[in-house]
Amino acid sequence: MLGGMIIETKGSPTASEITVLQLPLGRRDRPQEGDRSEGRYLIRSEQFLDPAIYQKGSQVTVVGRLRGSEVRSIGGFQYVYPLVEAIEIKLWPRARRISPSVHFGVGVVF
């Protein structure tokens, strides 16, 4: 099980591929925001994953099998992406920072 933030989603009718920036998992296996990424990986799925839904910047948690690796370039750097074949993908809802709905009041009675 891995989590992360989507960098890119490429879809074709038969298979989809998501490039993910790995992030450590937090509560309820949700990726934690921040800069503690340890690298990137690819998710491959047989389902069609709409790039408009699996947008850049969204958070995902994936359960899958490791299927080797793939070398691609980032700029001039040859990056080795681990390839994960997805069994299940959880896309986390985007709106996250909601101010707490509980308000504390201090009353002074003379």
């Binding site: 920036l21 800069d35 990137r40 001039g76 101010s99 009353g107 002074v108």
Partner: protein
């Protein structure tokens, strides 16, 4: 007592420490001064954990007096191999087989070595590092402080002119966390009449206590 023990084990380092202090305190309960000390310790612990310096002490000791950025721009060659601390906002991260090259919009540093506003910028510089820096993390607009050696000038086109970028060979990099984004769900000036306690000088009592 056993419950306290198991709870503090759950909460890990912080609680274990405070639990140990609690035990010390419970041995001489009469000493009220120690309780104040304990609270102070709690406060400072939280404060210290919150702010780690941008660059290591070791590096900061090796750096000479700060070089004005204007001087670095004009006399890069003369300052070669000098250790400097610079900071700014990332403009671009380019990856090469040998490492990464960052283009930075310089900004003056504050006392914590954190870059100030980018409107105070006096120019640009390049940071070279052997590490691979993911452009998704070292993305445009992020705040960065770098400590390293001046290694030379690299003229590169900027619009229609050549800009002489000073190049810093990075020894230590510190990426500052993203500024917290506040999403305001309600108008701060909205006055909630239903709320039982109104602001103190006007209505000190809840409505049901009139």
């Amino acid at each position: 007592m056993q419950l306290v023990e198991s709870l503090s084990a759950l909460f890990g380092r912080f609680s274990t420490e405070s639990y140990l202090k609690m035990r010390v305190l419970s041995d001489n309960r009469s000493n009220g001064c120690k309780i104040v000390l304990f609270l102070l310790l709690l406060l400072t612990y939280g404060g210290l954990a919150g702010c780690a310096p941008a660059l290591s002490r070791q590096f900061r000791q090796q750096v000479g007096p700060p070089v004005p950025f204007q001087e670095l721009l004009k006399e890069t060659e003369a300052l070669k191999c000098e250790r400097v601390v610079l900071g700014g906002y990332i403009l671009e991260t380019v990856n090469e087989p040998s490492g990464s090259l960052l283009t930075i919009l310089q900004a003056p540093l504050d006392s914590k070595n954190e870059p100030k506003s980018q409107d105070l910028s006096e120019g640009r510089f390049l940071v070279r590092t052997e590490k691979f820096l993911d452009p998704e993390i070292y993305s445009k607009g992020r705040k960065l402080t770098v400590g390293g050696k001046v290694s030379g000038v690299l003229p590169q086109p900027l619009g229609n002119r050549l800009y002489r970028y000073p190049v810093i060979e990075a020894e230590e990099l510190h990426l500052w966390p993203k500024e917290a984004r506040y999403i305001r769900l309600y108008d701060p000036y909205y006055y909630d009449w239903r709320y039982p306690w109104h602001h103190y000088p006007y209505h000190a009592y809840p409505w049901w206590a009139w």
